[in-house]
Symmetry: C2
Subunit: 420 residues, 2 copies
């Protein structure tokens, strides 16, 4: 390991830990003032940010980045405005820190408070989009966490310009020094250091492709909050309302196919398939959805590609849908728990027994009854904003908003109580 990078990261970590302790003392008002000052500085330094971004984009083009990556990299006025608005939106959200999640009294007179507190230091590793620099920083700071940001190397100058503006605003507002730090090197060794700095970093949140997340999870000693793919299912039960089922499947597949909460596999009860599936297929084909069916389904939907074993565990992120006929709800649930990614799955059924069985037995972060899987989203859930959607099981599942960026401690108040 390059000793200079190791030393740099050690310094960053030590400063973040120190900042996180100072952040515990801030009031809601102080944090909100800082977020607003940070928004103002983004606006003030708009030109500087755009110029830095132009250099990144120029290099990106020369280095042969794909047009999709270039598109994600570009910061225009609209995107800078969105970052500024994002900071104001987060300032307007309620402070998640310091509230009592539960209080209770013991017979000996002790009063226990289970109280929301910051996690401490959050390490954020992300790719391409420089706006994440502002969005992630604002969410973490609103929950009184110090943050270490490590963006994509292709966006380093953009991220530095944004981080400088944010830090200038933070300083003006009196936020503790080093509450927000951007890793200033492109070298990947910095990531290797960051994910093993247990002493200084409390959680790593990687955002980006599956490869990045897997590499981080495999090598980290710091806990990682993972955001894997969404292989989402809709099960259409024998007792489904036909119209609802058509509407929900179409929405979950077509409204925005490139996102993690779009549906990838349709499971249809054999009792409803003959009547319901052909019209569903017709609707989807009109929307240019490619269908891939198991053998049984191809009796009802003609001229479609057969689905292979691989299809059941593929997140298409595209207008493709795999279709399978199942004997009943048990087979549907087993399929989902086996091939799914524990993200979002739905049942369409008017039968409350089937609804209950599905809600209970499907082992996913979000389980829908008669609604589209597309609602799995921090804003739609009423969290205001999210830093991602966790497919992990511990600490946070589903959308990760301000509350999920906190932990708790017990504050126990007494009057001289001792243990007998």
């Amino acid at each position: 390991m390059d000793s200079t990078i190791a030393e740099k990261m050690e310094t960053i970590g030590r400063r973040a830990r120190k900042a996180s302790q100072a952040l515990m003392g801030l009031s809601e008002e102080e944090k909100n003032q800082a977020l607003k000052a940070m928004a103002d500085e983004l606006d003030n330094q708009r030109e500087k940010i755009r110029k830095a971004n132009e250099l990144d984009v120029k290099d990106g083009r020369e280095n042969g980045l794909s047009s999709a990556m270039i598109d994600r990299l570009i910061l225009n006025d609209e995107r800078i405005d969105a970052m500024i608005q994002g900071l104001h939106d987060i300032a307007a959200l309620p402070d998640p820190i310091g509230k009592d999640l539960r209080t209770w009294d013991k017979e000996n007179g002790l009063k226990l408070h289970k109280r929301a507190v910051p996690i401490g230091v959050i390490g954020m590793i992300y790719e391409s989009r420089p706006n994440v620099t502002a969005d992630a920083a604002a969410l973490c700071l609103k929950a009184s966490n110090a943050i270490i940001l490590r963006g994509g190397s292709e966006a380093l100058r953009s991220n530095q310009a944004i981080a400088e503006a944010l830090n200038k605003g933070a300083k003006k507002a009196g936020l503790p020094e080093h509450a927000l730090q951007l890793v200033p090197v492109r070298d990947r060794k910095a990531v290797q250091e960051l994910i093993r700095m247990d002493r200084y970093v409390d959680v790593i949140i990687p955002r980006g492709g599956q490869g990045l997340i897997r590499a981080v999870a495999e090598n980290a000693t710091v806990p990682v909050l993972k955001h894997y793919e969404g292989i989402c299912h809709i099960y259409v039960d024998a007792d489904a309302d036909h119209e609802k089922a058509w509407r929900i499947v179409e929405n979950a597949k077509c409204q925005r196919p490139g996102v993690c909460n779009a549906v990838e596999t349709l499971l249809v009860n054999k009792a409803i398939a003959p009547e319901w599936l052909p019209e569903m297929a017709e609707q989807l084909l009109k929307q240019k959805v490619e269908l891939r069916g198991d053998e049984a389904s191809r009796d009802y939907i003609k001229d479609v590609k057969p689905a292979t074993e691989e299809d059941w565990s593929t997140e298409y992120l595209d207008l493709i849908l795999s279709v399978k006929i199942v004997d009943g709800i048990k087979e549907a649930v087993e399929h989902i728990n086996h091939y799914g990614s524990g993200h979002s799955d739905a049942i369409v059924s008017e039968n409350s027994e089937q609804q209950d069985y599905f809600s209970r037995m499907v082992d996913s972060a979000a389980v829908y009854v008669n609604a589209s899987t597309r609602f799995t989203d921090g804003a739609e859930f009423g969290m205001g904003a999210e830093i991602g959607i966790s497919t992990d099981r511990l600490h946070a599942r589903g959308p990760v908003g301000l509350e999920e960026l906190t932990t708790y401690k017990y504050v126990i108040t007494g009057n001289g109580q001792i243990r007998e």
Copy 2:
């Protein structure tokens, strides 16, 4: 890696995952019946368990285990009774699964339920005490988790006899097969496999010495819920009630010095030290407590060993107490956040401003105001039973009881809602 062990562990993992899915379908009554049947079988197989244990103890003596380890290993009738009682106690606790932690409605008519569900598969790695086999299994099963137990190799026969009895009872009561599995090999490679089986295991809980926990945390890819040492502090403020402070310090140090929530370091405000500290020292010396003081403290407590830098980060687990004079609360909090282990720390003060500052700024799982640190314990907190005390920050902090062995999912019920 020995392929036979890898294969064995793979089979255990696959079976545990399957069992965990079946466990989601069990009712509270079914789980309680199983726990009671397991208790009955422990009673029925008492002789078998004791004989297996005698062999373990005999081998342990021949292999030169320390008398403390032998003591922990021994299963007498009293300890078997305690295991049986433990199973009944856990059966009597409320079911943590299926309850809605929060429900809310959205304007579009969606109803959201944040619902407590099992974590899934828990891997428990522990040393010596065979009673953990029954205690840990019962807690995990009550929260509808499958469990894989890996006890100390010196207790393998005892653990196998206990696990066989538990499984016989579980089978009689109709619990899903493989809900409880004991790793049947002594080879340490089994642990290396277990902590990297992400597909099958959702969390590892290591219980034992610091070395064991560090080795597991360093090498695991499965999330680890860690239980590190307790370096606990009491800060006696300028505005402390003298009597309360004496009583609390004495209790926290002397009542049971060998446990993690006993105090190790006493921080005394310089304003109260001259009057308060000499009498405190006298009380402690009467109780045979060895004091180790910083330079300033040795003005008030004569003939004590100087405290070294190492003392501040040592968990004595013994009748030893380090003492330091601080200028004020800020220095006390900084000392605690720097040298402490985030376990349990207390302030003794009648001043509400100092109390609030301490509660807010001390970054520990349990923060006490005018009470002994010895209360950090699942039973004392009202959780009924605990599997350990987490010094981690994510998912669970402090005592880990039934609720902490759950996670949550969102169940969203609608009436055909789609995303616009």
